[in-house]
Symmetry: C2
Subunit: 333 residues, 2 copies
């Protein structure tokens, strides 16, 4: 059964999840776009609802009775409750624990051929509204520390099914990267009395070298220390620690800048694979971090592979300066 182990030296958590190997894939060769399975067998298409577990959240299109977005439990979850007797032997060095948690799949559209690069603002609105509502619900579990919403687009970015979808993994621990950010932001707040992301936005607007585009409530920038080519942060301009507090009109504004950003990426790079990750707090962490944390979406086009140096050292090597990436993304429209 899935469970969580801690590295005896670094204390970093690893999820051991051997149940994942049986899951289906649409891609014959995981490095190519060639689709093996057809629409007919797709578990995510409208009309195939019985192929997934019952939804935990559903969005219906306005004035229609058919669904627009469905959130269902993952049939091959990387986390689920572990029984004590299934854990490995423990001692002072080796710690393992149950991987209680939630693993959701967001089926983003009923149409098999719906594609993020050609989506409309309202498509994004339905998806992010659904994610927001689900995160609100997940936040009611007091023993859950983090819900990580992410998307893998294209087999090169780790997607196994073609039909447009994304995922939420909710864990009883704060993932190490999120912990580094949350603590870094708290340190800055303690020292300066201001949110570090609010200061970054101010600074980026004044320098105007890494701002890709903006609208009323959101700004898209190439982060100063971008880890990979064309990495993009979309950040709300007003301080906000969590997407769960965002109004519908702001979600619409967010959807509109998202469309702008994906238009630019598509025109510049074509239908390149990408990962995105939402950095946002659950209510369980808000007491401590509400004033110092600031939510944002981190988009990472898949332009190269991580090799030994990055994997071993945790240090990323980026072959394009964020300023050059910004210029290219600015000028393409």
């Amino acid at each position: 059964m899935p469970h969580i182990r801690k590295d005896p030296v670094t204390k970093q958590s690893v999820i051991i999840s051997s149940e994942r190997t049986g899951r289906p894939s649409d891609y014959v060769n995981s490095s190519e776009r060639h689709i093996a399975n057809s629409e007919l067998s797709c578990p995510f298409c409208r009309g195939h609802e019985m192929k997934t577990p019952d939804p935990v959240y559903t969005v219906y299109a306005e004035q229609e009775e058919i669904w627009q977005v469905r959130i269902v439990p993952n049939k091959y979850p990387i986390i689920s409750e572990t029984h004590e007797n299934e854990l490995p032997k423990e001692n002072e060095l080796f710690h393992a624990s149950s991987s209680k948690g939630f693993h959701d799949v967001i089926i983003e559209h009923p149409d098999h051929y719906f594609n993020f690069y050609h989506a409309q603002t309202e498509d994004f609105f339905y998806i992010f509204k659904a994610v927001m509502m689900r995160l609100k619900d997940l936040g009611k579990n007091e023993d859950m520390m983090y819900s990580l919403y992410f998307k893998n687009f294209g087999p090169e970015a780790g997607a196994s099914l073609y039909h447009s979808h994304s995922q939420i993994i909710t864990t009883p621990f704060i993932p190490v990267q999120m912990y580094e950010e949350i603590s870094g932001a708290l340190d800055y707040y303690t020292k300066n009395g201001r949110c570090v992301y609010c200061d970054i936005i101010k600074e980026e607007k004044s320098l105007n070298e890494r701002v890709i585009c903006e609208n009323n409530n959101f700004i898209a920038i190439s982060p100063f220390a971008s880890k990979s080519p064309y990495q993009i942060y979309i950040i709300p301009k007003e301080h906000s620690d969590s997407i769960v507090h965002v109004s519908s009109s702001n979600i619409l504004d967010f959807s509109s800048i998202l469309k702008d950003v994906f238009d630019r990426l598509y025109k510049l790079l074509g239908e390149v694979g990408f990962n995105y990750v939402l950095h946002t707090l659950l209510p369980t962490l808000e007491n401590k971090y509400k004033t110092s944390s600031h939510w944002f979406l981190d988009i990472m086009p898949k332009m190269s592979k991580l090799a030994g140096y990055e994997l071993g050292s945790g240090v990323f090597i980026n072959s394009i300066t964020p300023e050059d990436a910004t210029q290219q993304l600015r000028n393409i429209l």
Copy 2:
């Protein structure tokens, strides 16, 4: 020019290196093994020595005048000295610095078709002896904090040239993952008065669930919190913080367990891509960490891609338990 930037929130270092894009590749499609360039144009083959910069270290085969292993500066280095005026604008939030350092390529064999999975013990001996000698030399630079020796095998693991080679990247900072390990090991030492790796070896031998194989001086284990399927640590049984202090007869013993491990991997998984990374101290860090750190080789077969969750969270998901991986690797010979 290449330079180092610090993330304003997490303080993590990123290397910005736009000079890398011009480097050659043997692989038409970076996801496939198909070789585009032939032996004729290979810069690493015997007879083509003028295609690389002059070597910084050379090993000659016994009683022969031709080279066996050559270490040369990388023609497309990810680090090199930056001039102050080439750095991006800095302020309280945005820190950038020169990426002074070294980037070496180890040309592991004169033969274009030399292959790690079919190598002999003496081939490994020449390679690791050369690496050890070069690390000794690099350690004389007092402003360099870490030399990371690593190998990418196969395009899926990030190799761009077919001819067998590995690399050393030497930086003025300690990479974040190495820092986590070195500090974790120091914490353990401070608390218990013993090296954590020495204790792990003792514990693993007693449990006997994750020991793949061993010889007089080395042990190969599946780490308790393996980050990926079939991850393997090869660790010296006696406490030793750095490979630079190891005797020739111990390097021979190390080479022999390496051959054993690659025989097992090949029989079980075929010619699968892999990364390995050497965890070892430079003399610059020995004053503080000599008694608490312990060198080892970390081998990571490339069985799957990192996707959004891993990239965003820093948490790895492993689909095979280390105990199962050990059983398979034990029984295959």
